[in-house]
Symmetry: C2
Subunit: 204 residues, 2 copies
Amino acid sequence: MTERGLLIVLSGPSGVGKGTVRKAIFESEDNDFQYSISMTTRKKRIGEVEGVDYFFRSREEFEALIQTGEMLEYAEYVGNYYGTPLSYVQKTLDEGKDVFLEIEVQGARQVKEKVPDGVFIFLTPPDLVELRSRITGRGTDAPEVIDERMRVAKEEIEMMALYDYAVVNDEVPLAVKRIKEIIASEHFRVERVIGKYRKMLEEL
Amino acid sequence: MTERGLLIVLSGPSGVGKGTVRKAIFESEDNDFQYSISMTTRKKRIGEVEGVDYFFRSREEFEALIQTGEMLEYAEYVGNYYGTPLSYVQKTLDEGKDVFLEIEVQGARQVKEKVPDGVFIFLTPPDLVELRSRITGRGTDAPEVIDERMRVAKEEIEMMALYDYAVVNDEVPLAVKRIKEIIASEHFRVERVIGKYRKMLEEL
């Protein structure tokens, strides 16, 4: 009996280091889950490969998938759509593999609605003072841009309530270790395994 | 700000090896939780130490604690009471230490009612065939005794639904690793940490 995989969603405030943590997880040796490949309407850049970096689609194709409910989540960013195609995720979960999504908080909210039994992990800065420096320390942004980022970050931290876990990104290797432990532990949650045991009982 | 410790409850069917797993956890190097010392009305055996092996109390004292709701859980077994005094557990949790209970399923049910936010871990045999051999392989018990043990084991596995996690005891070191990962992960559950983040927000 193949157990269905877990859908793992890593998200968190802008600038917290989601991408770095995700890369470190996938570069670690004993990772055995599938990274979900996103779909986008932006132009392919030199070196990018269809079906590896992204699924590249036209705006019309992407919008058709939205209309038919075939996007697990999506957002528009600087005039282009970015999103997660549902079919690829479902197929991988059905094969018993865990699927790992690293997405923005808006996308995570959409996934939560569609797959409430996913594992939702919120990556947080060590403290908000450091978040402030991460937000302000990027370069030469105007104060009102920075203030707006702070407001968004506050909102996003309030969004933490929608998640199952909050993992501090104080050091990337530690954050990776915590996330891997969470994923391992989630496989032992009773609601995910009790069906198997009930079946064993019936067969006695 | 000291975060309150977690109450961790390890239980499971009779004969599954709870005691062995608990001992291995406490003998491991990086264990940093407190084992809850039980209270009993049975006579102290040679070598046992008050407050280390058990709190030894008279039947009258024990029953008085039951009456005043000061037992987190208790059971009567072969004419003696065994149980967990609430005061010791609360004090240790308030100090920010995790408390680890290894108890029978009847006791775990009582704890679940009193401390629903505890972490409830059910230790399961690799499969029920092996559970059968564990139950029957102990010695020279009568068939009806063995049948009764089976019936109880089936009931107990149905009790799994009350727990948060089901951990297979296929190999003790693996079970220990899983339990430690579960405990580590539970510290990152949003409902346990969001208060701290809300406080940080208020202070910004």
